[in-house]
Symmetry: C2
Subunit: 241 residues, 2 copies
C-alpha cells in the first residue's frame, strides 16, 4: 500500500471541527491528501482540534464538485451507515473493504468519500462510487461522528496483522524461584505461619504461578531477606527498649 | 467477548466534547460503561457531539480517584502515545492487545484507561495498569484526538475477521453476453465502425471483460436495440424532412 495514493474526500462538511479532526487522523496514520467538496465553512483552516495537522490542512484542496475531486482516482469508495435508504451498490464491511483498498493503493489512486454530518452521501454522490463500505456499528446506533469514522477507516487501512510481541521480559529461572521459595518458607516458618508439612510444596506452586520476571525475583528475594533479618532482630529490639 | 464487561475510563478529561465523542463511540460499537475520573467540566452531560449517546452519558459514573474507578476490574490496560517518557510497562500494539482484551472480556471485567488530552496518563496512573497499549500511529505525530482514540480502540475490540462477502450480483450468462455481443457488432457495422474481420472476436472479449451483472446485460441489450432501431430509421427521417 502506498499512502500517497489515498485521497480522503469530505463532501459538504458543515462543522470545521470535523475537518480538523479528519486532518489530524490523516496525519496520525501517515496519509497526506485531504480534499474538500463544497465545505460549508471556509474557515476550516482554523479548525482547532487539528493539533499538529496544520500541514494536511494547508495542503487540503477545495473543489466545487465531487466529479472534479475524484477525477484522478481509479477507485472511488463511499462510506455509509446505511440507514433506511435502499442501496444500489455493493456494500462491504470495513474489515474486508480495507483489504481491497490496500491492494488497490499499491498502484492506483483511491478516493474515500465521507458525506455530510447530517445526511451522509446523497444518491447522486453515491453514483460516482464503485462500491460502498460501512463500519460495523450496531444497527440501533449506526451513525458515527465524522472525525471518528475517518480515524477508524484510516486505522483499518494502516492496520498490521496482530503479531504477538516477543516476550520482552526475561522470566526468572528455576534456581531463582527455588531460592525465593526457600526464603519465603523460612520467613513463614519464623513468623509462625507454617502449620503443615505440605506448606513447602504449596508455596513452591504459589511462587511458580507468579510468572516472575528475573529482575522482579531479585527484588522479592531482597525484600524477603530484609523481612527475615528484621524477624530475627526483633527479640534484640525488644531487649534494647 | 462480553461487551458488558468493559469499562471505558476517562481520566482528567478537560473537554466535554471529547466525553461526548467517547460516549457516542461506546454506543456505536455496542459497549455500555463509561467511567469518569475527576472530569474537569462536570457539565459533560451537555456534551453536544454525543448524538444518540444520551443513555451512555446518563449512566456514566463519576469517581474521585482512579483506584475507585477500576476496583471491580481484573485487568487494567492504559492507552499511550508513548512520547518521551520511558515506559515501565509492557507495551502492546492495539492489533495484538485487542486479541488479549477480547479473551479477557469473555469472563472478566476490563478497564481501558484514557488519560487527559494534554498529558495522557501520568506515571502514577499507569502504575495501576497491568500493561499498556498504543495505536499504531506514526512516530512524528503519534498523539490522537481523545474521541478518535476511543473509537479506534472500540472498533478493534468489536472487529470481525475480514470475510469476503458472498457475491451478491448474479453475473450475466454466456447466452446473454453473446446476444449483447451480436447486437453490438451489428450496431458497429451499421455505424460504419467495423473495418476488419477480427472485430467480432475483439468485441466478444471486450464484452466479457465488463463482468456484467445479469440485470445490466438486459439494460445494455435494450439500449443497443433502441440505437439500432434509430440507426435504421434515419434514412426515413431524412426523407420526411
Amino acid at each position: 500500500m502506498n499512502p500517497e495514493n489515498l485521497r480522503i474526500v469530505l463532501v459538504d462538511t458543515r462543522n470545521p471541527l470535523n475537518i480538523g479532526a479528519a486532518a489530524r487522523a490523516i496525519s496520525n496514520f501517515g496519509f497526506r491528501h485531504l480534499r474538500l467538496v463544497n465545505p460549508y465553512n471556509v474557515a476550516y483552516l482554523e479548525a482547532k482540534s487539528a493539533v499538529n495537522a496544520a500541514e494536511i490542512l494547508t495542503n487540503a484542496q477545495e473543489y466545487q464538485t465531487l466529479r472534479e475531486a475524484i477525477a484522478d482516482c481509479s477507485l472511488v469508495v463511499g462510506t455509509t451507515a446505511i440507514g433506511h435508504r435502499e442501496l444500489q451498490h455493493p456494500l462491504r464491511r470495513l474489515e474486508y473493504a480495507g483489504m481491497v483498498l490496500r491492494r488497490h493503493l499499491a498502484s492506483g489512486n483511491v478516493a474515500l468519500l465521507f458525506g455530510s454530518e447530517k445526511f451522509g452521501l446523497s444518491n447522486e454522490e453515491m453514483s460516482y462510487c464503485h462500491w460502498l463500505l460501512r463500519i460495523g456499528t450496531r444497527d440501533e446506533h449506526a451513525s458515527m461522528n465524522l472525525g471518528q469514522a475517518v480515524a477508524v477507516c484510516l486505522y483499518e487501512l494502516s492496520r498490521k496483522k496482530a503479531v504477538r510481541a516477543p516476550e520482552s521480559k526475561q522470566l526468572a529461572g528455576a534456581q531463582d524461584l527455588d531460592r525465593m521459595t526457600d526464603r519465603l518458607v523460612e520467613v513463614l516458618r519464623e513468623s509462625g505461619y507454617v502449620h503443615s508439612s505440605s506448606t513447602e510444596a504449596k508455596t513452591r506452586r504459589l511462587v511458580r504461578r507468579l510468572n516472575l520476571p528475573a529482575h522482579d525475583a531479585e527484588v522479592w528475594l531482597g525484600m524477603l531477606r530484609q523481612i527475615q533479618w528484621k524477624l530475627k532482630q526483633k527479640p534484640d529490639g525488644i531487649l534494647n527498649q
